[in-house]
């Protein structure tokens, strides 16, 4: 599949934005100005972006606790995201959601989710809407290897097949759920392999390679749009950091992480793959732009004001 230069630049920009965003949060987190649990997506960028480059605002995704990458890939505003993570009123969720609950329905982003496995049942709901109202859209869930074993996920997979919903289940296999190895927690050691048992096709792709993800997602999404039903993609990937910021990080040695950063960095891999097709200057410019953007987002987020205490009581109901 051949992408135009603009498409390539767009994809790279999204990946770089995610990387900048996460690296910066990693630093900011140590200053103590960000509270709560932060789960970074660094190292997994090619999955979110490889998938979401195939989507438009009328397609809905659900995400996980590790949601920043999905949000950015789906087009959420970076300033508003940063403000949200700083708990400010300008935040995308007005400071009420925080890192684990960023959402933007106008962009088709149905929410990060603090509940492992929480996304797939919601994604099939978005798919049901698309199917019933014939919007042409699809539903799509991102779920981790850990979340792949959750009952919520399996129920959603079966339902999707029964109702032939336009929905894709993306499994981001980064090898671990918290500190538990995927090969331990997934009985079959094969996430994609479960799909057949549910009556749907699956593909397993190298999640560090934007192009591999993009193509598999493209196929699955087109299939869904054509009314041919749900499918599964397992993307193997790696997270550069520990499960959450501040965790003991014992499950991998320093060498393992160094190796990953060196050889499994989706951004490096992307740059290698587009050599000759996109100039270094253009990519470097994106790097700079992303840095400036995130810099500015942090600066503004810091300066932004907190929600008014009165906002504690609003937005619980539409009316009550």
């Amino acid at each position: 599949m051949k992408l135009t230069e603009n498409q390539l630049l767009d994809a790279y920009k999204h990946m770089r934005d995610i990387r900048e965003f996460e690296e910066r949060l990693h630093d900011e987190n140590t200053t103590g100005d960000i509270s709560g649990f932060i789960h970074l997506y660094s190292g997994e960028e090619a999955v979110a972006v490889g998938v979401c480059e195939n989507l438009t605002d009328k397609d809905y995704i659900t995400s996980t606790h590790r949601g920043h990458g999905h949000c950015i890939a789906k087009g959420c505003d970076i300033h508003a995201m940063m403000a949200e993570i700083f708990g400010k009123d300008e935040g995308l969720c007005r400071g009420k959601g925080g890192s684990m609950h960023i959402a933007d329905l106008d962009k088709g982003m149905l929410g990060a989710n603090g509940i492992v496995g929480g996304g797939p049942p919601l994604a099939i709901g978005a798919a049901l809407t698309a199917k019933t109202l014939k919007t042409g859209g699809i539903g799509l869930s991102f779920t981790g290897d850990g979340g792949s074993s959750h009952g919520l996920t399996f129920e959603a997979m079966n339902m999707a097949v029964v109702l032939q919903l336009p929905v894709i289940f993306i499994f981001e296999n980064n090898g671990f759920g918290e500190g538990t190895g995927c090969d331990y927690a997934v009985g079959s050691k094969d996430i994609a392999g479960r799909a057949a048992g549910f009556g749907m096709p699956a593909e397993k792709v190298d999640g560090t390679d934007f192009f591999a993800v993009y193509e598999a997602a493209h196929k699955a999404i087109e299939r869904a749009r054509e009314g041919k039903g749900p499918s599964v993609i397992e993307a193997t990937t790696n997270r550069f950091y520990s499960h959450f910021e501040g965790d003991p990080g014992l499950v991998r040695s320093k060498e393992e992480i160094e190796y990953i950063r060196e050889h499994k960095d989706p951004l490096k891999i992307f740059r290698q793959k587009v050599k000759g097709q996109v100039s270094d200057e253009k990519l470097d410019q994106i790097d700079k732009d992303s840095k400036a953007l995130v810099d500015d987002a942090v600066k503004k987020a810091r300066a932004a004001k907190n929600p008014e205490v009165s906002q504690l009581y609003t937005d619980v109901y539409v009316s009550y």
């Binding site: 809905y60 659900t62 935040g91 995308l92 969720c93 007005r94 400071g95 009420k96 959601g97 609950h101 959402a103 933007d104 329905l105 106008d106 149905l110 929410g111 989710n113 603090g114 509940i115 929480g118 797939p120 049942p121 919601l122 994604a123 099939i124 709901g125 978005a126 798919a127 049901l128 809407t129 698309a130 019933t132 109202l133 919007t135 539903g139 009952g151 919520l152 129920e155 959603a156 079966n158 339902m159 029964v162 109702l163 609003t314 937005d315 619980v316 109901y317 539409v318 009316s319 009550y320």
Partner: protein, 339 residues
């Protein structure tokens, strides 16, 4: 206006809204019944129409696209309902027995109920979860519970517990049109009661209590099946010249605090009858409200008539003793009057 059963009143509300609004769909196990079965498919029959026949007829009118039979996977049902509600449908999920909330509550309480708040007011989830509550059917410990207090304790949910066919239709219509997630609790012993129900559509606003009996000596607060028992006691005691007011909040979230406090202010004596729980239940919620905000009206201790802190037993003899009875209500009323 004509006499209709509680069961039919519920069905009429759904049917009317489905005709009116193409985004209304029904989702659940055997809401039609018969998918994938030769006899029902060949003869276009509804195998169940809801496990106790409440939604019978809907599939025949609206088809499989809008009357959606599902596998037995409640988290997927409620989650799909929530996801659909957030993206443009007005789905009505049938949980069958509310007792099943234990296998799917996350999708309701952590997801649908919290979307709007977590997302800073930028989402809504207009959905209804219907389900049966109540003991008295010999359905034993896992099919007889009334966990509406748990729903009411959850911010973001609205909770409706109707006691009459009229209320059932009006409140369900409101529930379907409402922009927030609503849990609609149907007492299985009420399906066959009848009452006057308009043929046309109408809504009853949430948070407005109904005084099913007016009185001056004592206030009974009751929901659902218990309203009927309270009325029975009120009627009986009226013969003795005891004037009992019966307040049916109808919706418990929102709760008509004023309506309750007003009645308490006028009688000064309160009995709360409630099937939900012996601990941390709806009765306790109302008692706390009154002890805080209606304290100076009180002439006697607040009496609570609830089931004991036990699961619902199977044996009919035990189950009848478990359910708050007219006798127990009467004793409680006499007790608060003695003071």
């Amino acid at each position: 206006m004509s006499k209709k059963s509680y069961r039919n009143a519920i069905k009429e509300a759904i049917e009317f809204e489905m005709r009116r609004d193409p985004t209304v769909v029904v989702i659940g196990e055997d809401v039609r019944g018969g998918h994938g079965a030769k006899n029902t498919e060949e003869n276009k029959l509804e195998g169940f129409g809801g496990v106790l026949g409440v939604t019978k007829g809907l599939w025949t009118e609206f088809g499989s696209e809008r009357v959606i039979d599902t596998p037995i996977t409640e988290s997927a049902i409620i989650g799909m309902t929530a996801g659909a509600a957030a993206t443009g449908l007005r789905p009505i999920a049938d949980l069958m027995f509310m007792d099943f909330y234990g296998v799917c509550y996350d999708m309701l309480y952590n997801q649908a109920a919290k979307f709007r708040y977590m997302f800073g007011g930028k989402a809504k989830a207009p959905m209804v979860v219907r389900g049966m509550i109540g003991a008295g059917f010999s359905a034993a410990a896992q099919h007889s519970q009334s966990p509406y207090h748990i729903f009411a304790s959850t911010p973001g949910l609205k909770v409706v517990v109707p006691s009459s066919p009229y209320d059932a239709k009006g409140l369900l219509t409101q529930s379907i049109r409402d922009d927030d997630p609503v849990v609609f609790c149907e007492h299985k012993l009420l399906y066959d009661i009848t009452g006057e129900v308009p043929d046309d559509d109408y809504t009853i606003p949430f948070g407005v209590a109904n005084y099913t009996r007016q009185g001056t000596d004592v206030t009974i607060i009751a929901l659902s099946l218990m309203v009927h028992r309270a009325n029975e006691v009120a009627d009986k005691l009226a013969n003795e010249g005891i004037s009992v007011e019966v307040v049916d909040p109808r919706t418990i979230s929102p709760l008509d605090e004023e309506g309750i406090l007003e009645s308490v202010a006028s009688t000064g004596r309160v009995v709360i009858v409630d099937e939900s729980a012996a601990r941390c239940g709806f009765a306790h919620d109302v008692a706390a409200l009154i002890a805080q905000k209606g304290f100076y009206s009180l002439k006697a201790p607040i009496e609570l008539v609830t089931p004991p802190h036990t699961p619902v037993p199977f044996s009919n003899v035990l189950e009848q003793a478990w359910l708050p009875s007219a006798e127990r209500i009467e004793i409680a009323v006499r007790k608060v009057l003695e003071v």
